[in-house]
Symmetry: C2
């Protein structure tokens, strides 16, 4: 089975997209899929999770660390780099099974013969601060080779520079680059140690690079290992330099092969918890695995102070900020496959509650209004001007920061999903309940009461479809606000019943109100847009149906500048029914059991041709709902488009004149959702798992593990059979379930088998 | 004293602005100040009040009638026109005392000598359908002259053509052009009769033009008279052609001189009711009279089915639509000087109530939401796209139609002002009460209740300052809504006390509610933005103070295209504190007794440097409030700018790529307000007249007549004396008043004299 992404030629035009496609990482840092000789012009970057800096008045963004794996070769006085000499042969590949990147490049030696350079590297999942690499050179004719390797501290920055007072040292064979960030004065240290089997490397005059020159013999393989480590002031009270130095020394002592073995072991264990097997569709199989891979290399496995930014750890795009994407598009994967990461993600929201409180207060509201673009403190990194007008070059006012209020509901949704999936109520006690209630309080203060219609309304919001800003009663937002209120009440009930002391203490904090009584009143009176009785279509927001009903091709024909933004004040789409992304359909997917199939179908059919998919978050939702309404083949192209977004690199690179490239974790999570929650039809409400498979035509089966409330199950869905296998300790749950309990089958014509893995398992 | 506007040379560049400057009219029709030989290219137009037509999908606009005063001369085979031959001498003048237009042009005869052409004309105030003219030709050398005169039916249209099936007839010496409008099939007929003392004019082959050719003798004056009449299907059930024909026959029978005498008589009477005498400022004296003139030539003296459009009767700009300007900027003049016209203006709103009801229902509200751009039916002629983006050429969404809700409050304000000034409660019974209550119901349904702040708010509106659309709690709008609720309650009280039967009947109609109880509740809970305790500045709307505080010159320096619109989605001003026009200051002017001087001063000083005056409605308000706060000299330049706007032609001609030229009745009314309500300090609340003069430095005095509750008074305000003269029948009112009753003096250091015109009057 295929676990490898591969390019077997070098194409300058793909440097940037390959930087995304060949990403490695371990949640502590991301390492872009660049080649060893690349520098900042090629967007080489070691992006650190959760480390932010603001330079001057520019956008605050993540800090890129100096690149400790930098290496460039020189043969007979000629620099060897794919940027300068066309290679005879070039291969770049990524082993997603153990997150190892490899390149092999064959250069022609001008004086005759060939030189083969290989490099392998990974960001250690066992030692999160460590990058390890193995590089070799071999030639078919004797030649004189110079290796320059060390730390490239001339880092790529979009809104930098962020690293101040750069210091370079060489101590006990270790190269050390250290600096401090300009805004928070956080120390950042990178140590590097190179070990060669063919003679010690020596520090060059360049300061941060070692240089060794030797006469290479034809046929001989020269191999060296590189260890780099990154530490920042966020990791410790003490001295990051010492820690980095120690880390490379220890890594070198352990040795590359053992590090690699550990890497494989850890990754094997990770895959065992999530790998989905698709029978009948090799391309989908690989794309789905690749999507999970992208999620896993950026997931915070140990820190609850960071979450996953919209572009993962693939650089500084979107300010390294965490959006609603995390809860709504990535969290489901972790909930099913890695609840520990899910907990960290939600703890991040708890830790940033004060920032959300500050934002609410800034706008005159109560409670918590989460940042549209969240960084370390939870204060909003989103500006009021997010796109430049391509015609005038002027910043354009956008209503993301102040009007996309659904973010607070998304956070609550995520927390409650975590509670449902894990039963781990400690999250509520650790701050989750406070977040939930503060968000409910925010919405209570945001809502208005319409005295004529006798209902609460949510006015002046921007929904997921950002092409329509400042709308009233957005169906998605209102439904999410309703859920927030329901969760706020349910959370209170649950704490009161099971943790009365905690509940009592927390209540005191909210005694000033509005609190539960007001939430209840608002819940009862909240307006929720309903399906039109004739068409069954739910209006996306008040008066959406009054907008121009233009077709997407017609609207595209009106484009004057291909980079022009379709939203904002004068955007092409704003006065039409064309959507940026799924909005009502996304709501129907979130609350799928609340709507009959006919409603979902009618809305899919209505909104699908009107959706531009200007966001990578959009197509997967159409795939999910297509599966839900029993039309998986309508959804399959959307699934594939989503699952391959970082493989093809065919996503939007610009909005207005703003570069927005990078990886697409939300799409990665969306691909997983489409396959598992869509085609396999897995649905869990905290008590019962429903299986309502709808496999695309050429899929024979899909098989996957899930972790529900701490227990592991294996699900296999084929055209005529659903098999649920529980681990031995878990017999009871499964046994209890039968056909109406833990497992419930919704699809027609399929047969359910329940199995126990050990000792009872048998066909 | 000067009553004449005059140009003594011909300048092609001023053809369009002179068309405005030299306007004549009589409220039934406007005749642009063009020359006799001008056609549609020079924007010659006879614009009919209240006759609208829509051609295809284009904007609905007023109909221009064929021009029955068209004349062109030919001398020795050469066409004489200022457009083709440079005249030796040219004079165009307007006698505003009797609304008579004159031109005199001297052409060189190529064969030697000069030819003098004179033309005088007026739109009869006595016979509203009639235009009359006297034309002469004289030469200093014998020559052969051809006169072509008749009806030019090739009319100027912006969004035409509107006249279909044009028919031309010649019957009993009368030329007749008739047509029907495309949309409503209204017949439009123009008749023309020319009478010469030197031989009959004969119909030429051209069909609508008469042609006479004769050998002119040097020194002899050849004189002829023209009578044209316009009738439409709106004027009668029967045949407009016959009526037009009869009208010109009757006019000709009466003869030009008698018509002119009648014209002078009627105008003398009109001026006696309004002429303001300014001592010490000739320029201001003329500009103020000119402003009143412009108002009087477009005022509906007999019809209560039309009101005054934003560009008067100067053409089709702004669709010939009636805006809030009428109530807020023109009505005060008529209330003080011609209450009959004021009644017609307000009856127009009563007749268009159903259109306002339809608009409210269209947007899901109760009651009456008056048209932003009102035509004959009261349905809104305003589109959602009012300006084109100069960069892309695309229509730009503007929020005039759907968010400028203050229009309904402006209408209520106007009606109530009429009641206060005249005591004529019949207007309430004739529909005024219904309008008031329907507008209050509209606002009740538009408002939202904020449960946390426990108040009603008015959200998502555009105030007078159109550069800031879709704002919350606009100080102007909220104050006007409050006034509407107060008036609704006061109106009920007044009717209940004095017309209980009518009140009872009307109440039944509103029994379904919301009605008085709800108005009372909303009034008590309505949020009204208050002056900041420290700065005394009232925030124009929620979060206005958070906008960029850029200076006007700095903002101007950012302009890329001089015609770019500063408002709308991406407008330069929208994200700054720069205003299009007075907004808070206008509110302070409307409710001047509700705020102390310090508040008015603080707001004047704060907002004045931030106001672009992108509307001709703006400067007069700064003049008014400057006078109110005792700084008339701050206001004087704004007064002069307002009073001369149609004389200089220095107003905005384009917004985006939209032509918006024409006369400025709101500025004309604003000039009167600044002089009388501002500098003379006249303020009447229905019971007491306050006089709080604040004369500009070089004004010695201002003297004017006013009509209050049916009685005529003459006010003379000088630096040290205020004299109020009442007509004889009115002694009681004045006698009763003394210093604390009808007349109250607010200014310090002035002495009040009360006089009676007859028989008691004496110094």
């Amino acid at each position: 089975m295929n676990w490898t992404a591969c390019d077997s030629s070098f194409d300058k035009a793909r440097i940037i997209t390959n930087g995304n496609k060949y990403m490695t990482g371990n949640g502590y840092m991301g390492y872009r899929g660049t080649l060893e000789e690349f520098g900042k012009e090629q967007l080489a970057a070691v992006t650190l999770a959760g480390v932010y800096d603001q330079a001057g008045e520019r956008w605050r963004e993540p800090v890129n660390a100096p690149n400790g794996l930098f290496t460039v070769l020189n043969c007979n006085g000629q620099r060897l780099s794919v940027l300068e000499s066309e290679p005879l042969n070039h291969k770049q590949e990524l082993d997603i099974r153990s997150a190892v990147h490899r390149r092999e490049t064959i250069y022609r030696i001008p004086e005759g013969g060939e030189l083969i350079f290989t490099a392998e590297r990974f960001a250690s999942m066992e030692r999160l601060h460590v990058l390890a690499g193995r590089q070799t050179v071999q030639c078919t004719a004797d030649c004189r080779i110079t290796i320059e390797t060390g730390i490239d501290s001339d880092v790529w920055d979009i809104n930098g520079p962020h690293l101040q007072n750069k210091q370079e040292q060489f101590k006990d064979g270790v190269l050390l680059t250290s600096a401090i960030t300009g805004e928070l004065n956080l120390p950042v240290a990178v140590a590097e140690l190179s070990v060669s089997g063919f003679g010690g490397l020596k520090l060059s005059k360049a300061g941060t690079l070692r240089r060794i020159t030797f006469d290479a013999k034809a046929g001989e393989t020269y191999e060296w290992f590189k260890y780099a480590a990154v530490y920042t002031g966020l990791d410790m009270e003490g001295d990051p330099e010492a820690a980095a130095e120690q880390a490379v020394q220890e890594a070198a002592e352990q040795g590359y092969l053992k590090l690699l073995q550990a890497q494989r072991r850890v990754w094997e264990e990770r895959w065992s918890r999530c790998d989905c097997l698709i029978e009948g569709d090799e391309a989908a199989q690989f794309a789905l695995r690749y999507s999970m891979y992208q999620l896993m290399i950026i997931a915070p496995t140990v820190s609850e102070r960071v979450s996953i930014p919209a572009r993962g750890l693939s650089g500084q795009v979107y300010k390294g900020a965490v959006f609603w994407d995390t809860e709504m598009f990535m969290l489901p994967f972790f909930l099913h496959c890695d609840p520990g990461v899910a907990r960290n993600l939600m703890m991040y929201r708890i830790h940033t509650l004060d920032g959300a409180r500050r934002k609410a207060a800034e706008y005159g509201y109560l409670g918590a209004f989460y940042a549209w673009e969240s960084q370390d403190s939870g204060d909003d990194a989103c500006t009021l001007f997010n796109v430049n007008d391509v015609y005038t070059g002027r910043p354009m006012r956008t209503y993301f920061r102040d009007k996309q209020v659904h973010i607070s509901a998304d956070v609550v949704h995520g927390i409650w999903q975590y509670i449902l999936f894990t039963g781990d109520e400690s999250l509520l006690i650790d701050g989750g309940a406070e977040v939930i209630w503060e968000c409910a309080r925010f919405f209570y203060s945001y809502a208005y009461y319409n005295p004529v219609k006798e209902r609460y309304e949510i006015l002046d919001v921007t929904g997921p479809d950002e092409y329509h800003e400042r709308v009233n009663n957005n169906a998605f937002t209102n439904a999410l606000v309703k859920e927030t209120l329901e969760i706020a009440l349910r959370c209170a009930e649950q704490l009161q019943n099971r943790h009365p002391v905690t509940f009592h203490e927390l209540c005191a904090q909210f005694a000033g109100g509005p609190f539960l009584a007001e939430f209840q009143a608002m819940l009862e009176g909240l307006y929720i847009p309903q399906p039109d009785p004739d068409t069954l279509v739910i209006e996306q927001f008040d008066r959406y149906f009054k907008l121009e009903d233009v077709t997407l091709p017609e609207l595209k024909s009106r484009v004057i500048n291909k980079n022009e933004y379709w939203g904002g004040g004068n955007g092409l789409a704003t006065t039409t029914r064309i959507l940026k992304q799924a909005d009502v359909v996304l709501m129907l997917n979130l609350f799928k059991s609340a709507f009959p199939k006919e409603v979902k179908q009618a809305n899919w059919k209505f909104y699908e041709p009107r959706t531009e998919h200007g966001s990578s978050l959009s197509p997967c939702i159409y795939a999910l709902v297509a599966a839900d309404i029993g039309s998986p083949d309508w959804g399959y192209p959307y699934f594939m488009r989503t699952a391959t977004v970082d493989l093809t690199g065919e996503s939007k690179q610009y909005v207005g004149d703003l570069y927005i490239g990078g990886t697409h974790p939300a799409a990665n999570g969306g691909a997983w959702m489409a396959a598992v929650l869509g085609f396999a039809g897995v649905q869990f409400d905290g008590q019962t798992i429903w299986l309502k498979p709808a496999l695309p035509e050429h899929w024979q089966s899909i098989e996957l593990p899930v972790t529900l409330r701490g227990d592991h199950y294996r699900l296999r869905v084929s055209r005529d059979e659903v098999i649920v296998t529980a681990s031995a300790g878990n017999q009871e749950a499964l046994g209890f379930a039968g056909y109406g309990g833990l497992v419930e089958l919704c699809g027609p014509g399929t047969r359910l088998q329940l199995r126990f893995a050990k000792p009872a398992a048998a066909e």
